[in-house]
Amino acid sequence: MDGVVQLQRQFIDYTTSLYEEKYLDEQFRQLQQLQDESNPDFVVEVVSLFFDDSERILNELANALDQQSVDFKRVDALVHQLKGSSSSIGAQRIQKMCIAFRNYCEEQNIEGCLNCMQQVKNEYSLAKNKLETLFKIEQQILAAGGSIPVL
């Protein structure tokens, strides 16, 4: 079926670009390995948890950075959480941004922190869009009766 083949090609190209552009790293592949017939939605489930958790963290971060006297320890603790979870799903760019963010926390550099905050939010939005797109292509392949290529 041409439709399926095209979709599969799209999937392969898209996935490859995500790895090349470092939106995703090896850990994402690890998660895919954990998905099987008994747990067919594992990756989507974990990533959804990641989205929810990240949004919570980003809100708390915005709040913490908005204070008169910023509690850098708290900011750092929140960024550490985000770094951990992004690392666990293979969201490399977010993880790297968190590392830079934590450095500014250590320096108690508010400008640096605010800057990183913005960048982390951007990276998160990008990653979210990209992953949602990826999942959409997967759904389309399955709906068309095809199977998802393993990369």
């Binding site: 390995q33 958790d53 603790a77 951990g84 666990s88």
Partner: protein, 239 residues
């Protein structure tokens, strides 16, 4: 889960039985996983289940102690029914850290023989050493991979559990008696595939059962490959 003769004998011949809970032939390895991160809990739970372990995942050290019945204020299970074969815990957690949890477990007569593995996103030598000194069996650098969990299960509860207590005792004693040596020829436990294996000092490598020493049946410590690849880590390994 299939077990070879040596493994069974090792488990049943524990001499100083401090209530060590070992997996019987009739049930799966039961792991207590402790991590405050929801994402990480989901991942570790899946990693463990896919390697045929039973999993109880909790979000804090406090809850872990409650589950084990070690929390003075609250008990959740009757200890007699509880069989935890392995505890795997995150290091950085609010409230009680994994290190503090480790100390509490090692300080408990009921659970001190249960192997405890620490996970951390931070590859800090001092942290690793501290945990191992306190009795942690292993230290895994996050993100945790399937190969980490397979290796863990394999050397603790599987075929390669042939590596007997002798080596563990040698390593434990050496660690207690002296600082970690700078010996670059440090041997590594045979279970690490990414590390060039050199034969451990006092073990017969024959597959036939060797006489057991009278120590608690715990597997030798080993380190996740990412640690071994670091030259600093290699320098600090004991033999």
């Amino acid at each position: 889960m299939a077990r070879n003769g040596v493994f069974s004998r090792r488990r049943s011949e524990k001499i100083d039985g401090f209530g060590h809970l070992s997996p019987s032939d009739s049930h799966d390895v039961h792991v207590l996983a402790v991590d405050d991160s929801l994402v990480d809990r989901k991942v570790i739970e899946r990693l463990l289940k896919i390697t045929s372990c039973k999993v109880t995942a909790v979000d804090s050290g406090r809850r872990a102690l409650q589950f084990l019945g070690l929390d003075e204020e609250k008990r959740s299970v009757d200890i007699d029914d509880l069989k935890v074969d392995l505890i795997i815990t995150d290091y950085c957690m609010p409230g009680m850290t994994g290190y503090e949890l480790l100390k509490k477990i090692k300080g408990s007569s009921t659970f001190r023989e249960v192997p405890v593995v620490i996970m951390s996103s931070e590859n800090v030598l001092a942290r690793i050493d501290r945990c191992l000194e306190e009795g942690a069996e292993d230290f895994i650098v996050k993100p945790v991979k399937l190969s980490d969990v397979k290796r863990l299960k394999d050397y603790m509860f599987g075929e390669s559990g042939i590596v007997v207590e002798n080596e563990h005792r040698v390593i434990q004693n050496k660690r207690k008696l002296q600082d970690l040596s700078d010996d670059d020829d440090a041997s590594s436990p045979p279970s690490i595939s990414s590390f060039p294996p050199s034969p451990p000092p006092s073990i017969s490598s024959s597959p036939s059962p060797s006489p057991l020493s009278s120590s608690s049946p715990s597997p030798p410590p080993s380190y996740s490959p990412s640690l071994l690849d670091s030259p600093t880590r290699r320098l600090k390994m004991t033999n």
